[in-house]
Symmetry: C2
Amino acid sequence: MAKLDLSTEEKIKDAAKKIFLEKGFGSATTRDIAECAETNIALVNYYFRSKEKLFHEIFRESFAETFMPVARILNDNLPLEAKIYKFVDHMTELLKRDPLLPMFVLSEMRGENSKMCELLTEMQAEEQNQFQQQLEEEAAKGNIRKTDFNQVEASLMAMVIFPFISMNMIKMKKNLTTEEFYRFVDERKKAIPEMILTFLRDRA
Amino acid sequence: MAKLDLSTEEKIKDAAKKIFLEKGFGSATTRDIAECAETNIALVNYYFRSKEKLFHEIFRESFAETFMPVARILNDNLPLEAKIYKFVDHMTELLKRDPLLPMFVLSEMRGENSKMCELLTEMQAEEQNQFQQQLEEEAAKGNIRKTDFNQVEASLMAMVIFPFISMNMIKMKKNLTTEEFYRFVDERKKAIPEMILTFLRDRA
DNA sequence: GTCTATAACGGGATAGAC
DNA sequence: GTCTATCCCGTTATAGAC
């Protein structure tokens, strides 16, 4: 059980991630986190100074270090079809490991929340949208339909991410176990690229 | 200004909806709500007994009375194409009036939250999926491709709802004002049915 | 119905011993 | 680094005057 050998700091961070992802900043308490990490409140503050600082660290790691690298697959140098399949596959696998991540990130950005927004703007300053360029070039060559890039991008992201955001609702409505839900999103690894590519290739 | 003539109870409910939708249950405080309704905490509790009771009332109204009726358009007796266009159009208009609604509903269902889940199960007990039957019939007739209904439904919902859940992120990333964002989702009223229908009609 | 005042509680943070 | 005890504040909820 390697988990028991983790440093206290790591145990607290793991616990904090679990609690924050489940409850969000507002509903999570430092007591929850301390208890879940099998220590006490004083140590949480000893290592991280405050609940807010701890939250920021979790948020940054979850978003910048976990989510963004996968999102950047769209900027890889790959043929269109392979790229879309790879993106959907990798993103789905990431979200299966961390299904609460999208809800966590997005729910903390409600109401023009200043703190998180700052974080994000600095993160994505670099972005360069190789994907947009690729779609335009393929359209110019007549290989695919001419489309509004933003619409395609939004639909792609939506189709991959949204099922995880509404996971509990889907599981309830369709009466699925977690395994069945994961089978469902695994099937989407094929269904989503199929829909997008069928649409793109149908030159209207 | 009809708003000033509202009964105190209505003013409190309106304020509560605004605050809860912005911050979620955990981060919203009764003080916020009272202040926003231009009264005091005592009156909030006088009319609604507790913060939690007030929340439940808002949640039920938002979901059952606002969201579900539009979702049920998929069970209307309409030709496939007209139905999809109507659904996307009505849902988009609903969400433009209440852009925080999906985030609100879904974020309160994290972590297998028992309270909200009960509410939802009783609500949707009736559902009968005329839409699924319709897709199967059209496929049998050879008018559209044979598909997995759950995948199509998930993609449709995702494409309509997800942009509102990630509204702040989109606005920031693409540097959009609220008006520009609304123009973006208005364009989706055409883009989404187009993608779905192109896919369905392409008999693989 | 509406307000002021306050009780009762819970949460974040810290002091200080070890 | 770790723990116990405690402070202090914000929050919910209510009692009681008007």
